[in-house]
């Protein structure tokens, strides 16, 4: 244990995902040795992100304005929507450069154990987006694990009466994993080889 303020910092850092006690200590000592201006910039960035970043009112992706960069981009194809669980999945898919349509971020996956049902996800917002009939294909890119699959099946059934094309990323993604951890090539291939979801 260290003196109060230093230990506080270590404890706070240790609560971040993927940061264990050892890394927290290393980061804390790194900051302690760093230039005050550098640390101020980091602190500012932390505060600013909470202050300025919000969620796109159309797709739920992180955004600096009312709508995110992708929803504002008029060159993007408005006929295709790719449904993902989290904003970080948008980043992963953008890296593949395979997809030129728009996204819809659900904010998670159906998981009764965690008390997450369809009502707790941005599914109602998705249905509203689909209502005008402009969208002709829905690509469901939820995680390749059980909850992601269940969410995909649920969505496919829900939109079935609307008669649009519903596809799912091709298998080949590491099963049981997270979309964000798939490498670009694999994810790109999964996009290209997407298959019709038949429910």
């Amino acid at each position: 244990m260290y003196e109060g303020v230093l230990q506080n910092l270590i404890d706070e850092l240790g609560m971040l995902p993927g940061v264990g006690p050892k890394s927290a200590q290393r980061i804390a000592f790194h900051l302690l040795a760093a230039e005050p201006a550098d640390v101020k910039r980091l602190a500012h960035a932390l505060l600013e992100v909470k202050d300025k970043v919000r969620f796109c009112r159309v797709c739920g992706n992180v955004a600096a304005e009312e709508e995110c960069r992708i929803c504002r981009d008029t060159r993007r194809d408005t006929h295709v929507i790719c449904v993902v669980e989290e904003s970080k999945d948008v980043v992963a898919i953008e890296k593949t450069r395979e997809f030129r349509g728009r996204y819809h971020v659900l904010g998670g996956a159906i998981s009764p154990i965690d008390g997450v049902g369809p009502d707790d996800l941005r599914i109602r917002e998705l249905m509203t987006r689909l209502a005008d009939g402009r969208v002709t294909e829905l690509i469901i890119a939820t995680d390749p694990n059980l909850e992601g699959e269940a969410t995909a099946t649920y969505l496919a059934r829900l939109v079935k009466p609307m008669g649009l094309k519903v596809t799912r990323l091709a298998s080949g993604l590491p099963v049981g994993g997270d979309l964000e951890y798939a490498d670009e090539v694999t994810l790109g291939r999964a996009f290209e080889g997407r298959r019709l979801l038949d429910v």
Partner: protein, 407 residues
């Protein structure tokens, strides 16, 4: 295959242990509670990543230590492989093969293959259906490691579906419909606010993984049936013949469905192991029991409620077989597993944990004769006299956690 080296760190009673082994028979001898089973349990764990004695991993780690490490050198067709497993209770295990990490520890299952006989085996004959399901599933995984994933997926669907059923049951009891007011016509029409709106999705997944598991079990039972009968007859030549019947919770189309058991053996249809047929039947069965499930909050049909019926002549072994007959049946089940694994290629390591002390002299001798030719046999016994003369070989004495070779 055989194990050429075993070393333990903080596994069970051992802070460290290090022993070289050879093909053929090796006996570990010492009074009770000295750490004999702990040694062979470690090898069983490397093979299956589960213990034959406990359901959770915490007891495997030495009291006061954070993790346990088991290393062993497995020799197969003159090729040596170093398999290392770090057991982290409550967290993911880590595995290395020849010093390179394996991305998922589960993928190390099957690098070592063992068939373990233990006093606990009697529960396969005398105990609950869960003991027999476990026997079948462990054997499935040993033969086809992919099934570890299928079983894990199936268990996870059961958990998710169970949580949903309980929520729905509560909402019913509480008189609430569990449904929020909806304005969006399409969303509400699809019943999205209803906890049950996702039940059909879980049904579909339960049926899919359930059918995969069920089909594999049915096929396995077919393969085991003649082997179990033959091993049983060799161990107990004067007894009635041993038989196996898979008893499913699926309402059957089997000819003997009316045996008053309420559940039929799914082992007889036209093509019982056809996955798509089983999947369809599972979904139909789920639809039929839905209201009962909502009442009780549990999944009532599926392979998690099935049983493997063990018969001796016309009688069930459970409740009717003598102690000796029950032992013969348990041994026959293990020997059949050994036969199957051997036929798949690669002689598995046979582990006999304290079993000879449980058997009368005739069964002892027969078992010894059957296992003697195996590539490697590891035996634990409290006294040297419990090791049959047919199985003379190397010997280690185990006392208070120290293991020393004496022969």
């Amino acid at each position: 295959m055989y194990v050429a080296h075993l070393s333990l760190t903080d596994f069970r009673s051992y802070d460290t242990a290090d022993l070289g082994l050879e093909p053929g028979v090796t006996a570990f001898v010492g009074p009770n509670g000295q750490g004999k089973t702990n040694l062979v349990e470690a090898l069983g764990y490397v093979a299956t990543q589960s213990s034959h004695r406990v359901a959770t991993d915490a007891p495997l780690v030495r009291h006061g230590a954070a993790r346990a490490i088991v290393r062993c050198v497995v020799v197969r067709d003159d090729r040596r492989a170093l398999v290392e497993l770090e057991i982290n209770p409550g967290k993911a295990n880590r595995a290395r093969l020849n010093r390179s990490p394996i991305s998922r520890a589960r993928d190390a299952v099957g690098l070592l293959r063992t068939v373990l006989f233990a006093p606990e085996d009697l529960a396969m004959v005398k105990g609950d259906p869960s003991e027999r399901r476990r026997y079948l599933d462990d054997l499935l995984v040993a033969r086809t490691p992919r099934f570890a994933g299928v079983r894990a997926d199936y268990d996870r669907v059961l958990k998710q579906r169970g949580a949903l059923l309980r929520t729905a049951a509560q909402a019913r009891r509480g008189g609430r419909s569990g449904r929020r007011a909806e304005n969006d016509a399409g969303f509400a029409a699809a019943g999205a606010g209803d906890p049950l709106s996702t039940l059909e999705v879980w049904d579909a997944h339960l049926a899919r993984y359930g059918a995969e598991l069920l089909a594999a079990r049915l096929e396995l039972v077919e393969a085991l049936r003649p082997l179990v009968a033959a091993s049983y007859a060799a161990l107990a030549p004067d007894s009635a013949p041993a038989g196996l019947v898979y008893r499913g919770t699926l309402p059957g189309d089997a000819p003997d469905a009316g045996d008053g058991e309420g559940a039929a053996d799914t082992g007889h249809g036209a093509d019982p192991a056809d996955r798509s047929v089983l999947e369809k039947r599972l979904r139909e069965a789920l639809a039929e029991v839905r209201s009962a499930e909502l009442e009780r909050g549990v999944t009532l049909v599926g392979p998690h409620r099935d049983d493997l019926f063990l018969g001796l002549g016309d009688l069930p072994a459970r409740g009717y077989a003598s102690h000796g007959e029950s032992w013969s049946f348990a041994l026959a089940l293990r020997l059949a597993a050994y036969d199957l694994l051997r036929a798949d290629g690669g002689d598995p390591v046979l582990i006999l944990d304290d079993v000879f002390a449980e058997l009368d002299s005739r069964r002892r001798r027969r078992l010894a004769e059957i296992v003697a030719p195996a590539e490697q046999v590891l035996i634990t016994a409290a006294v040297p006299a419990d090791v049959p003369p047919e199985l003379a070989g190397a010997r280690f004495d185990v006392t208070e956690g120290s293991v020393g070779r004496v022969r």
